[in-house]
């Protein structure tokens, strides 16, 4: 049985454990090399690090995040939308606090897709001085099959 609507609704507003994320120079090099971007080990960081930092510092593994939504990787969760906002330039080598949680949940039913849930979560990367440098907002789509 898929997660109930009540259980799904209860996720809204739930905070992640959070943690920290350091933009390691070698990881920054590898991440950029993987997408044809300049592989640097110092200076301004790619804003993709906002996503990497969010996922790396939320305090849950992907499997644990899926479990919150009553799913596993085998259920075929998919990306719906993603947004990264760079409020202040990210720096390679900097360590950021990561905080956030689930902001929205919605159950839908499509003629072809059947029942599916969209879970949206938002995380901030916070500089040591307390300023928010980046915001990552993502929605995952969870197909619900009986």
């Amino acid at each position: 049985m898929p997660i109930s609507v009540e259980e799904l609704e209860a996720l809204k507003g739930r905070s992640f454990p959070g943690g920290t994320y350091t933009i390691e120079p070698y990881r920054h090099w590898l991440m950029n090399d993987a997408v044809g971007d300049a592989p640097t080990t110092s200076g301004p960081a790619s804003p993709m690090e906002i996503y990497y930092g969010a996922m790396g510092g939320l305090g849950l593994s992907l499997d644990e995040l899926f479990a919150w939504a009553g799913a596993t990787a085998a259920d075929g969760p998919m990306f719906g939308e993603a947004e990264i906002e760079q409020r202040r330039p990210l720096r390679v080598g900097e360590t950021y606090a990561v905080r956030g949680g689930i902001t929205d949940v919605v159950r839908k039913e499509g003629r072809r897709a059947g029942v599916f849930d969209i879970v949206t979560f938002r995380l901030e990367l916070v500089e040591p001085g307390g300023e928010v440098a980046g915001v990552s907002t993502n929605s995952f789509v969870f197909p619900r099959r009986d």
């Binding site: 590898l30 090399d33 044809g36 301004p44 993709m48 996922m55 790396g56 993603a82 990264i84």
Partner: protein
């Protein structure tokens, strides 16, 4: 830069499997569709690994950073995931300036962005804001 301008596209002639393996490790992403062909076949998804969504975003970020004159000048990127990219695919990241205006004392451009797979098959679409000066 002005409304209607096309950004210089970023072309990836053949999406490499090795990059997916690297990113699976970087993201601690255990999903085998990104590195295990046998799993991809078993799921009926073809016979090539599926690229990570963040990699597809990364192509757009690379294009935007070049257009803006630095990755630190990318203010925002929002995308919808419309389809999969597979190992060996040719993909092109594109952008078109929608507007240029002053905002909070800075000149910024709002840009329509998208990622094409093969011949104009849009697998990602969205909007971005870049700082111009």
């Amino acid at each position: 830069m002005q409304a209607g301008d096309e950004l210089e596209p970023l072309v990836i002639e053949s999406v490499p499997t090795e990059a997916m393996k690297t990113v699976a490790a970087l993201l601690h992403d255990p999903n085998p569709i990104h590195f295990d062909v046998e799993t991809v076949k078993a799921l009926g998804m073809g016979d090539r690994p599926v690229n990570q969504g963040p990699n597809n975003m990364g192509y757009l970020v690379a294009m935007l950073g070049r257009a803006a004159g630095g990755r630190e000048r990318i203010r925002r990127l929002r995308v919808r995931f419309l389809g999969n990219v597979f190992a060996g695919d040719r993909v092109v990241a594109r952008g078109r300036v929608e507007s240029v205006e002053e905002r909070d004392g800075q000149r910024v451009a709002d840009v329509e962005v998208w990622l094409e797979r093969g011949d104009d098959d849009r697998v990602m679409a969205g909007t971005a804001t870049i700082l111009l000066d």
